[in-house]
């Protein structure tokens, strides 16, 4: 069994309205050192070994988990060792 962590974020070139709002709130709170905020999604998938897990995960991201018109994705795969 594997734990797959998928991170979906708006592409760099796309203005993130939520991120802008949070940045402005942080500035209001006097955290002026914050130069940029980007908000994304974090998904955790519990996945059985299939032999081509990376290709399958990428397919899932392209088809459903991310909208590649405006979003980027990256993922990490961790083996879950039963204790």
């Amino acid at each position: 069994m594997y734990k797959v962590k998928v991170y979906v974020t708006l592409r760099e070139s796309v203005l993130d309205p939520q991120g802008v709002a949070v940045k402005s709130a942080l500035h209001t709170m006097d955290y002026k050192e914050v130069e940029d905020v980007r908000i994304g999604k974090y998904l955790e998938l519990a996945v059985n070994e299939t032999g081509n897990i990376e290709a399958r995960i990428e397919e899932m991201c392209e088809k459903l988990l991310a909208n590649t018109v405006i979003e980027d994705y990256r993922y990490e795969i961790e083996e879950v060792v039963p204790s």
Partner: protein, 227 residues
């Protein structure tokens, strides 16, 4: 001419759409559940607004894989008129029947009020009943109507006359005030404002009725032999 209103779990403008077609327009209409697989016998396909599958993940992302969507894509390829309103527009984008994607509204507020639109292209099966540049009042109700596309896509849309409606004031931050776009073939229209909520003066505006009348007129001209 017979219309189908596709109903997803979370559709909440399906009854408004049904009412607009059966009442104000006076045409035949039936609900079609998202688990169905055929749209045989229907001449026009309507994807209503709402929150299909709770808008989980992204608006329209899950609905796009509903069994009925294969038939919707098939109908679109056959040249049948397909209209997606609000969440229906978002589903058409996710399905790739229209280009681009939706972001949260600039300002992050859910916007629910009448909006003034300009008719950018009156030479379509959806807008023949309007005049070019005509200002119409159609209500909007959305949190994710901030239309985004890349430069190449935008240039194509503009060059081909695929931008059908623009907001007079850019209420949600959409690229170039885009409120509604059409596919290149001219039979798939997606728009965030709700024409089905503006079909009777009693509702505050009947400016949306001409859109549905245009579809029917076009269908009659191409399907009904005149002597």
């Amino acid at each position: 001419m017979k219309f189908a209103v596709i109903v997803f779990p979370g559709s909440n403008c399906d009854a408004d759409m049904y009412h607009a077609i059966s009442g104000a327009l006076g045409a035949e209409v039936e609900y079609v559940w998202h688990h169905e697989t055929s749209l045989q016998g229907f001449d026009g396909i309507l994807l209503p607004g709402g929150f299909s599958h709770g808008d989980y993940l992204r608006s329209g992302a899950i609905a796009r894989f509903a069994p009925i969507m294969k038939a919707v894509i098939e109908a679109a390829k056959e040249g049948k008129p397909v209209l997606g309103v609000c969440n229906g527009f978002q589903i058409l984008l996710e399905a790739g029947l229209l280009p681009g994607a939706m972001k949260r509204n600039e300002g992050l507020k859910f916007i629910c009020r009448p909006a003034v639109l300009t008719v950018e292209n009156e030479k379509t099966m959806f807008t023949a009943g309007y005049e070019k540049g005509q200002e119409i009042t159609i209500p909007v109700a959305h949190g994710e109507g901030n239309y985004e596309c890349d430069d190449a896509t935008f240039n194509e849309l503009e060059k081909n006359g695929q931008i059908i409606f623009r907001y007079k004031d850019n209420i949600n931050g959409s690229r170039q005030q885009i409120a509604g776009i059409m596919n290149e073939a001219g039979n798939v229209l997606g728009m965030m404002p709700h024409p089905e909520r503006a079909v009777e003066a009693l509702l505050g505006s009947d400016d949306g009725l001409a859109l549905f009348q245009s579809i029917v007129r076009n269908w009659r001209e191409t399907h009904v032999a005149t002597t």
